[in-house]
């Protein structure tokens, strides 16, 4: 059957079967290369996408659940200023040493940077829990995200301190 959904800001129409996982449709039919289907059980996090703005594992999701949804991958954010700030901070804290998880870590970071208020610790650790990377130090990720957030919204910093 045909389904339509928004992927990285663009409307996509794809033909799917009930047997296909979302990650396979995104990779094969939509050309997304930033996702990996390593575990197929929603464990590693390399397949993370944002589904209507919140994280979801595309490897355990049937493709038909993408219908009429808004999907974002890290590719959507690559050209944004916030992305550059985030990557700089992530590198500074050494949180991108594990190459297999770059996309997932950056995507969780970008999700947190979209928040209207500075992300709280529990939100940051909640996001990080979705990624099963043993190299990643949670405190470093938190510091990188908060620094990037502050730098990306200088006027907000001024209001918060008043």
């Amino acid at each position: 059957m045909n389904i339509e959904f928004t992927l990285n800001g663009l409307q996509h129409k794809v033909t799917i079967t009930s047997a296909e996982r979302a990650i396979d449709v995104l990779a094969k039919q939509c050309g997304i290369k930033s996702l990996a289907a390593d575990c197929l059980d929603g464990h590693c996090g390399k397949c993370l996408i944002l589904l209507d703005g919140t994280p979801a594992y595309s490897c355990i999701m049937p493709a038909f659940l993408l219908r009429d949804r808004r999907v974002e991958t890290i590719d959507y954010f690559l050209k944004s200023r916030e992305y550059d700030l985030l990557i700089t901070e992530l590198h500074r804290y050494g949180t991108l040493s594990c190459s297999g998880y770059h996309s997932a870590i950056a995507l969780m970071g970008m999700m947190l940077l979209q928040k209207k208020k500075a992300p709280q610790s529990d939100e940051i650790f909640d996001a990080l829990e979705n990624i099963h990377c043993n190299c990643l130090e949670p405190a470093d990720f938190e510091a990188a995200v908060l620094n990037a957030y502050q730098k990306s919204k200088p006027t907000r910093k001024q209001y918060e301190s008043e």
């Binding site: 047997a19 296909e20 197929l40």
Partner: protein, 274 residues
């Protein structure tokens, strides 16, 4: 590779029409279980599937003075800030079910109707005497959540009815005890959750409920009645009596490890007195 006909009903009547038409149909909420349990690259479902997660009526959360009700397609994330997950222990229990990437998609209906075992939230909602509203072709039925338990304590299917809403009476709870027992709580494992709730009013126990659920569910209503209206601190005689009742009823089930569980129940009774 088994290919299924996929339906996206927009309303409950439309869903019920599809169900009445098809013999072999599977209702899908967040589908988080299928993608996890099926190790093959390609997923397999029944001949016909109906996606319930996009029906607006199944997403609504309503609250009155006495009751809160969730639509069965509410995701676990959507419940994080509503009763009873405003209490710290239930909130913590909700978070332990899975990571947020799963909770954002998994539905409360799918969680409760999972038929291989009773998942984490089931014993909590059973303690709260939650009611399940099922819709059939021309009528709706409201049943206590214990309706899903057969005479052997196992999860039983609800037939051709659709779980529409979960209704929970709003209770004032003074004591919440939630303990995970066993090494592996995920479907297929052998773990269980022990949940106990109590309310104390003027040094007297208003209500006491204790549910144990994993592969099977257990509750001893007589033991609960014995302790209700008892004064705090509990007399040694009442405490011994209640423990004896639980010991007997656990042994009768021939399933639960009484030696493991009885000390926990003893701990719960002690905690009540603090």
């Amino acid at each position: 590779m088994n290919l299924s006909e996929i339906n996206f009903p927009q309303t409950i009547p439309e869903l019920l029409t599809i169900i009445s038409r098809e013999n072999d149909i599977q209702l899908i909420g967040g589908a988080t279980t299928f993608g996890y349990l099926q190790a093959t690259r390609y997923l397999s479902f029944s001949n016909t599937i109906a996606i319930v997660s996009r029906i607006p009526e199944l997403h609504a959360i309503h609250k009155t003075e006495r009751m809160i009700s969730y639509g069965a397609a509410c995701t676990l994330s959507e419940l994080e800030h509503v009763y009873p997950f405003e209490y710290p222990q239930p909130a913590s229990l909700l978070r332990t079910i899975a990571t947020s990437a799963v909770r954002n998609v998994a539905t409360i209906g799918g969680h409760l109707m999972y038929d291989r075992s009773f998942l984490s939230l089931w014993p909590l909602l059973a303690c709260l005497d939650a009611e399940l509203e099922f819709r059939a072709a021309s009528q709706s039925h409201i049943k206590n959540i214990w309706y899903l338990v057969d005479e052997n304590g196992k999860h039983c299917a609800a037939g051709n009815e659709v779980l529409a809403r979960i209704r929970i009476p709003l209770l004032s709870i003074d004591h919440i005890y939630i303990k995970r027992i066993g090494s592996n709580i995920f479907p297929g494992g052998d773990g269980a959750h022990l949940v106990a709730l109590a309310s104390v009013d003027r040094r007297s126990i208003n209500f006491f409920r204790l549910v144990l659920a994993g592969t099977r569910a257990f509750r001893d209503f007589e033991a609960e009645q014995r302790i209700t209206s008892a004064s705090i601190p509990l007399s040694p005689k009442i405490a011994q009596n209640v423990l004896h009742m639980y010991s007997e009823s656990l042994r009768k089930t021939n399933f639960w490890n009484t030696d493991l569980i009885l000390p926990l129940i003893g701990q719960i009774l002690e905690d009540l007195q603090r």
